[in-house]
């Protein structure tokens, strides 16, 4: 079980988080049908670092992008996404 540093809550157990998908598989609302399906149905799926979308579902419910190595599980960066936030 990894430890993920939520941009809002600090380091928390992975049990509080849910993986959604990789950043490269986000289907933009205005994507053309071809682009949308290519994005939805293909992945880099690297044996290395990828940008993933996780949600702190059982914590602050915020979404974030986690840059993680798929073999070592090293997390090199995490950034918040979503609307503007009061500090």
């Amino acid at each position: 079980m990894m430890q993920i540093t939520c941009p809002h809550c600090g380091p928390r157990a992975q049990a509080e988080f849910v993986y959604e998908r990789t950043v490269d598989s986000v289907v933009a609302l205005d994507a053309s049908p071809e682009d949308a399906m290519r994005t939805l149905f293909t992945r880099d799926n690297p044996r290395g670092v990828d940008d993933e979308i996780w949600r702190h579902t059982y914590g602050c419910r915020a979404w974030m992008v986690v840059t993680r190595h798929r073999v070592t599980n090293e997390i090199s960066a995490i950034r918040a996404v979503g609307p503007e936030v009061l500090p």
């Binding site: 079980m1 849910v18 959604e20 149905f41 992945r43 799926n45 690297p46 798929r70």
Partner: protein, 418 residues
């Protein structure tokens, strides 16, 4: 190849079993093969075996980056069954199940296929209707499936918690009596020995690092043991499908995730069948050595780590104990994890790729072991003829962009919702 038999073992009693030969050779790679299969797991070795046996091809190599059978073939829960709801799936797996029934004799290698019954438990009337629907779909296509009453379930597995107050009370089950388990390592070894005896070169410690292209076509592979030319190349690397296809510039509809399983210390026989559940996500059986083999959900996030996660394991065990409380004082002695290539409809991909002469067999998610013979058979057909067998035609790679997905669970493209 020296034939395996009881007589051979008896003879060995007098010579210290010294007459046995290596089960497969350790050849140097040649410079050219007609067909190269990347991946020396059960599927790859079975493919090589059927290419040689059925299609009469002689110049075949299996390239394995580690040691054969070391991937998901050696990291599963050994369950064999064909009880799927959707026709393309149950037809493919049933074809395989029929092959399992004679595989030990076919290979002269005891794969210990034990058709002790694969049973789904139902925990409500709604579950039982869903199980009946699955069973009816199978029966109409000529595959065995029987609904079981509560009493029949209790008789088959007396240690199940049959109380009405159970969190997931058992209302009955659906059994495929011809389903069961097999000795996973033996499947790889048996196919390897069979393929080797037909002239297939099994080359271990040979990792493919790139593809050699001539225009749009693949004409060979770069490996850690040098360049090898090939007429056709078949990828068959399970959890590494995305990685190897990526070497050819292909992005796949798969995401690699970890699936872990575990086994307890051995105890005298306590479970008689393979127990699965319509509402829970665990599967339980007892190995011949007495260990209770346990599997659960995949980890639900991408990973190539071959390492499990305690929370997923603990959840699977909780589910298992809710079904079989007597497991409580047994001890988990070993865990293992496989990297599964979770496809975006939960079904495998067997067929051509956009690159000429390059073929793919992957996307088996966490259900590939049982398909080993059928996968090998259909993939061999595809590689030998360049066209899919009728059984694997529905499992083409382009089905996702076309919209012809085979979605057994109806959960859509996200593997983590499966």
């Amino acid at each position: 190849m020296s034939r395996y038999s009881a007589f051979g073992l008896l003879r060995g009693a007098f010579n210290g079993q010294k007459h046995w030969q290596p089960a497969w050779r350790d050849p140097e790679p040649k410079t050219h093969y007609d067909i190269i299969i990347i991946g020396g797991g059960g599927h790859g070795l079975a493919t090589a075996y059927y290419l040689a046996k059925v299609h009469g091809l002689k110049n075949i190599a299996v390239l394995e980056k580690g040691w054969i059978g070391g991937g998901n073939t050696g990291r599963n829960t050994t369950i064999v069954r064909s009880n799927y709801r959707l026709k393309p799936l149950h037809d493919l797996f049933e074809f395989g199940l029929k092959m399992w029934e004679h595989l030990s004799d076919e290979l002269n290698y005891n794969v210990m296929f034990s058709p002790r019954g694969a049973m789904f438990l139902g925990h409500s009337d709604a579950d039982m209707t869903k199980l009946a629907e699955r069973g009816d779909a199978m029966r109409c296509d000529g595959i065995d499936a029987d609904l079981m009453t509560r009493d029949e379930v209790a008789k088959l597995e007396p240690l199940l918690d049959m109380s009405r107050s159970a969190r997931f009370p058992i209302e009955g089950g659906l059994i495929q009596r011809r389903g069961g388990t097999a000795r996973h390592d033996a499947v790889a070894w048996g196919y390897a020995r069979g393929a080797d005896s037909l002239g297939v070169d099994i080359i271990q410690k040979c990792e493919v690092t790139g593809f050699i292209r001539d225009g749009d076509a693949v004409v060979g592979v770069e490996t850690t043991r040098g360049r090898i030319n090939a007429g056709r190349v078949g990828i068959c690397v399970a959890g590494n499908s995305g990685h190897v296809a990526g070497l050819a510039g292909i992005k796949l509809p798969v995401e690699s995730q970890t699936l872990q399983a575990m086994v307890t210390e051995g105890v005298k026989p306590m479970l008689n069948s393979v127990i699965m559940s319509q509402s829970l996500h665990c599967y339980i059986s007892q190995s011949d050595k007495g260990g209770i083999v346990f599997g659960g959900d995949p980890d639900n996030w991408p990973s190539y780590a071959q390492r499990g996660n305690p929370m997923v394991m603990e959840h699977a065990v909780a589910q298992g104990l809710a079904l079989v409380p007597a497991l409580s004082r047994l001890r988990m002695v070993r865990t293992w994890s496989g990297v599964t290539d979770m496809s975006f409809d939960g079904a495998p991909i067997i067929g051509e790729t956009p690159v000429e002469n390059l073929f793919l067999n992957g996307g088996w998610c966490y259900g590939g072991f049982k398909a080993t013979p059928a996968s090998g058979w259909t993939y061999a057909h595809t590689l030998a003829t360049g066209k899919p067998h009728a059984l694997n035609a529905p499992f083409a790679l382009d089905r996702f962009e076309r919209g012809a997905t085979i979605d057994e669970t109806g959960t859509g493209p996200m593997p983590n919702s499966r």
